[in-house]
Amino acid sequence: MAEIKLLTEHYHKPEFQTLDGYKKNGGYDVLKKAFKMKPKEIIEEVKASGLRGRGGAGFPTGMKWSFLPDNGEPRYLLCNADEGEPGTFKDRLMMERAPHQLIEGMIISAFAVQSKKSYIYIRGEYTKCLSVVRKAIKEAYDAGLLGKNILGSGFDHDMDVYSGAGAYICGEETGMISSLEGKKGQPKLKPPFPAVQGYLAKPTIVNNVETLAAVKYIIRDGAAAYKKIGTEKSAGTKLFSVSGDVNKPGTYEVPLAYPLRDLIANECGGMKGKLKAVIPGGSSAPILNADESNKVNMDYESLAAAGSMLGSGAVIIMNETRCMVDMLNVILHFYHHESCGQCTPCREGTGWLEKIVSSILLGRGRPQDIDLLDTIAQNMKGRTICALSDAAALPTISFVQKFRDEFEFYIREGRSKVTGQPIKRKNIKGSHHVEMHH
């Protein structure tokens, strides 16, 4: 399959980080084009392109935009640059290498939804992104690309950056909104959706960094051209953050529906060791075994059909040396640590799952624990305010189902089937947040 680079075409050029360098490579030309269109036309174009949100849920972007009520209230645009999903690092790269590409995509999107104010919510750990993006915004203001009457279009728009402070849950859109309001980042029940009642109870569109940047290319090339890339239900290119046991981990842009096998062989320089399993969409996605990985294509529908999901496009690759009991423990520790505590199934369930898996690792597992893991996880699905509970449940169900023999062996023998030894870690079961919740 031919390589298609839209968003990442100029990533290798250091000049692309500055306004001048960006302009030399066609920067802000698409904004001029967009200003010649009507906002509604841009929304229609984005709808027709088939673009789906790149932040995790894959919701159609144009459709989300058209949910905005027409009630004359101010509207906000929020760029989700929290990027907390383990395995995901594509947005960081875009902000560092191509901050103006994001800003241009955001101004076009803001014009489309008629928002006069946007925020880029960046996780606090990303100190470099924070300063690169702040600097780029200042350059844009100085060049009249932000502020009043942008490029003589009559459109006014202000943009600012807001720093998170270390909470994965602030990546969830309603949690992010609360955080931006200066509160705890706890998610809220939907509906009402942010498009109707978001930041300060005003209509708010929350989109991922990659989604907003992609809008620029839809307007540049037209919806029809964009839709030609990928498949009917998964249009366009996608940035995949690949990590783990491959020779060249990194961020790669490929057309959607690209075979996972090819991604590993061509882009990632092949496996380090022998392929055992892949988590294709961030650590909250169900795991695929080698067989499934070799057959699946990287698009929304193929991954769903394979029982997993595309998520944020974080591909975590494991070779034959990886103990699945150990891997699941790492994942569960994370979701337990990050549960905001509002919903009982999530607060208690994530802790319980972690406790069971870590007790297996310590050689204290019981045969009934495997089914218990599955039962707890099944009861955590779809019963909570946000999807964090599912994010812990889905990997658990899939790990236990696909690698049951490893869990059974560990429980029986008190050691890993893969390494032959007990997994020894000082901090196993050492989740300091266990106490917090009791």
Binding site: E125, A165, G182, G185, V242, P249, S283, I316, F334
Partner: protein
């Protein structure tokens, strides 16, 4: 008693006017105050912020306790956070965190007696392709960690 510096106060006052609500200034103000208070937010810091921002202490405490980047107890001059999430764990991050703890004679999250270091485990830092990764205070990441790199770093950070 903790007091923001002149610059710190000017920063906080400006943040109070920058957003649509005053309350949005709580997160940036806490970062600033933490920086000026030697890396952590003491109860006195909260009292002071509440006064200068005219925001109830309860609202500041709510934010303080929710987010992990605000330290609720003193931390070393160099707060070393080793990512131990999945890709870093695969690359040996847990063992490296243990190594640092042993070398400095502390447990996870503890500060060394001389106040120079605190070692803790962090969640995914969003740099999994360069695992293992760590962050010291609010600086840029240190990537592709190796044991010699760790040794060198401890030697250099006085």
């Amino acid at each position: 008693m903790f007091q923001l510096s002149k610059d710190g106060l000017a920063f906080v006052k400006n943040e109070l006017t920058r957003y649509e609500t005053k309350r949005s200034a709580v997160l940036p103000a806490l970062f600033k105050a933490q920086e000026e208070n030697g890396g952590w937010v003491s109860p006195e810091v909260v009292v002071h912020l509440s006064q200068v921002m005219d925001i109830p202490m309860s609202q500041i405490n709510e934010v303080l306790t929710f987010y992990t980047m605000y330290n609720k107890k003193p931390v070393g001059k160099h707060h070393i956070q080793v990512c131990c999430n999945i890709s870093c764990a695969m690359a040996g991050a847990h063992e490296m965190a243990d190594y640092l703890c042993d070398k400095l004679g502390v447990h996870d999250g503890e500060m060394t007696k001389d106040g120079r270091f605190t070692i803790s485990r962090a969640e995914c830092l969003g740099s999994c392709d360069t695992a293992p990764v760590m962050q010291i205070n609010m600086d840029e990441y240190i990537e592709n960690l190796t044991y010699p790199k760790l040794d060198q770093m401890i030697k250099e950070l006085k």
